[in-house]
């Protein structure tokens, strides 16, 4: 994953693409911990979510987990590839593992509890 992304304590990352546009996904650490991922459910483009709201569901062989919005925003693109072939997420050589792209006018307050990738790694390992 892109190490300039910011990470939440619930293992989502948010990466700024351009002004007010962000990519959101799960951290590589979270994916490794989940093991074989067999199901991904993503929201439809156009849906809006608050920070910390559940926007996606992901299931490994063992269990189902919810995925939370690291910041608020409106979905502008959805990665259908991981819905159709969830195993992409476990493929270390695969690149496009993002979940959704959003438009957001989140302010500094929403970013306050997010961690740099290196701080996040320290926190979880």
């Amino acid at each position: 994953m892109n190490e300039s992304a910011l990470c939440s304590k619930t293992h989502e990352y948010v990466l700024e693409l351009q002004d007010n546009q962000y990519e959101i996904g799960l951290t590589d650490y979270a994916i490794e911990q989940l093991g074989d991922i067999v199901f991904v459910e993503l929201p439809e483009a156009g849906s809006e979510f608050e920070k910390n709201e559940v926007f996606a569901t992901i299931e490994s062989v063992k269990a189902a987990s919810e995925v939370y919005m690291p910041i608020s925003g409106k979905v502008i693109a959805v990665n259908e590839a991981i819905v159709n072939a969830p195993e992409i997420l476990n493929d270390e050589t695969a690149e496009d593992k993002w979940f959704i792209k959003i438009e957001s006018d989140a302010d500094q307050v929403e970013f306050a509890d997010l961690l740099d990738y290196s701080d996040y790694k320290e926190e979880v390992e």
């Binding site: 074989d36 067999v38 199901f39 569901t57 062989v61 189902a64 476990n90």
Partner: protein, 367 residues
């Protein structure tokens, strides 16, 4: 405190992801559950199942004592053969499911679930009154290794075990200069063996089997794949699919119950009645038609009417779809091909009742 098997260090060194299971610190996976699952279906896998419990029952009343505990007729069990049993309470509910091996007259070995150790031993002791019998918990002395898969028996032969016991039999054998018990049993639906060995030899045996198995494509297999394998084979998991409020008949285990057993046993009246008329509920196998994964505890619906609950569910790596087991109302309305729905995160997903097991079992091949 969490217990460790004698192979705990081996799992750590192999990079296993460890979890707490039934009071034991056990490997859930070494690499990937799906990869490990496919290894057992296509080649051979090695499992540490030393958390399983072992009890030896011996004494002149060993047979009548055990025959009181299970609905299976153990008077028919011959030396060195095994039988799959359920230990039932007075209401016919299942205290645990077990494999009982007849070692010799007046001496039996019982393998039981780690999660049920206290309940099993207490129940045996409570039922012991009036019988000349010793119930000896040997769990802390023995390790149990399972070698499972289509190449399991070839592997065992390659390390000197020419004469393997037939399906559901046990024999004394010598392997790498160690005396041990080897039985043709397992929990995967594949052919294979389980090896009962004293703790001090388990590491040596683990290493030697892994090394000799390289040519056969062996991999160590964690509890994650053990669960997906047993689900595909529709083998019950205690605590998921079996509990004290469920009878063998309701659990779809009537095939294992002796219909003409003369001796009395705990729960006989209820089980006998249910063999004729069916139970209050029945265990159905289903596959998901919609994209969704059923999990333990999810509700089952017929239209908007709740008719049951999922007890086990997940992916089937071999079939490539999502499958499960559920207790549903015992109505003739619900049969093979019936459409049902599973409530997943407040939404209903279509499913269909299908035949069990979900994959063809290949464990009854000849020696």
């Amino acid at each position: 405190m969490t217990k460790q098997t004698f192979l705990h260090d081996k799992h750590i060194k192999l990079g296993a992801k460890m979890v707490d299971f039934a009071g034991w610190h056990m490997p859930v996976q070494y690499t990937s559950i799906i990869e490990e699952h496919n290894t057992v279906r296509n080649a051979v896998g090695l499992f540490d199942v030393s958390h399983m419990g072992e009890v030896v029952v011996k004494g002149e009343d060993a047979l009548p004592f055990l025959n009181k505990l299970v609905p299976q007729d153990l008077t028919k069990l011959v030396e060195r053969k095994a039988v799959y049993c359920q230990m039932t309470n007075k209401q016919g509910g299942i205290i645990d499911d077990l494999i009982i091996y007849k070692i010799e007259d007046e001496k039996y070995l019982i393998i039981f679930n780690a999660s049920r150790t206290d309940e099993d031993l207490n129940w045996m002791v409570r039922n012991k009154k009036g019988f000349y019998v010793d119930v000896i918990n040997e769990s802390h002395n023995y390790s149990l290794l399972a070698v499972q898969g289509p190449k399991a028996c070839d592997l065992m032969r390659s390390i000197g075990l020419e004469d393997l016991p037939p399906f559901f039999s046990i024999k004394r054998a010598e392997l790498f200069d160690v005396n041990l018990w080897i039985s043709r049993t397992g929990y995967t639906g594949e052919d294979g063996v389980e090896i009962l060995v004293r703790n001090e030899f388990s590491e040596m045996l683990w290493d030697n089997i892994l090394e000799a198995g390289t040519n056969f494509g062996i991999k160590p297999i964690g509890l994650g794949a053990r669960d997906t394998l047993r689900l595909e084979a529709a083998l019950h998991l205690y605590g998921n699919d079996l509990d004290e409020d469920t009878t063998p008949v309701e659990a779809g285990l009537s095939w294992s119950v002796s219909k003409n057993k003369i001796d009395d046993y705990n729960g006989k009246a209820i089980i006998t009645e249910q063999l004729l008329n069916g139970g209050r509920k029945k265990l159905a196998g289903f596959k998901m038609l919609d994209r969704g994964i059923a999990r333990h505890g999810y509700e089952v619906y017929d239209g908007d009417k709740k008719i049951g609950v999922v007890t086990s569910g997940g992916v089937s790596p071999v079939r490539g779809d999502n499958i499960g087991l559920a207790y549903i109302e015992n109505s003739p309305e619900y049969k093979i091909d019936s459409k049902i729905s599973i409530m997943i995160r407040d939404k209903l997903y279509a499913a269909q009742i299908i035949k069990k097991p979900f994959v063809t079992k290949r464990n009854k091949t000849e020696v």
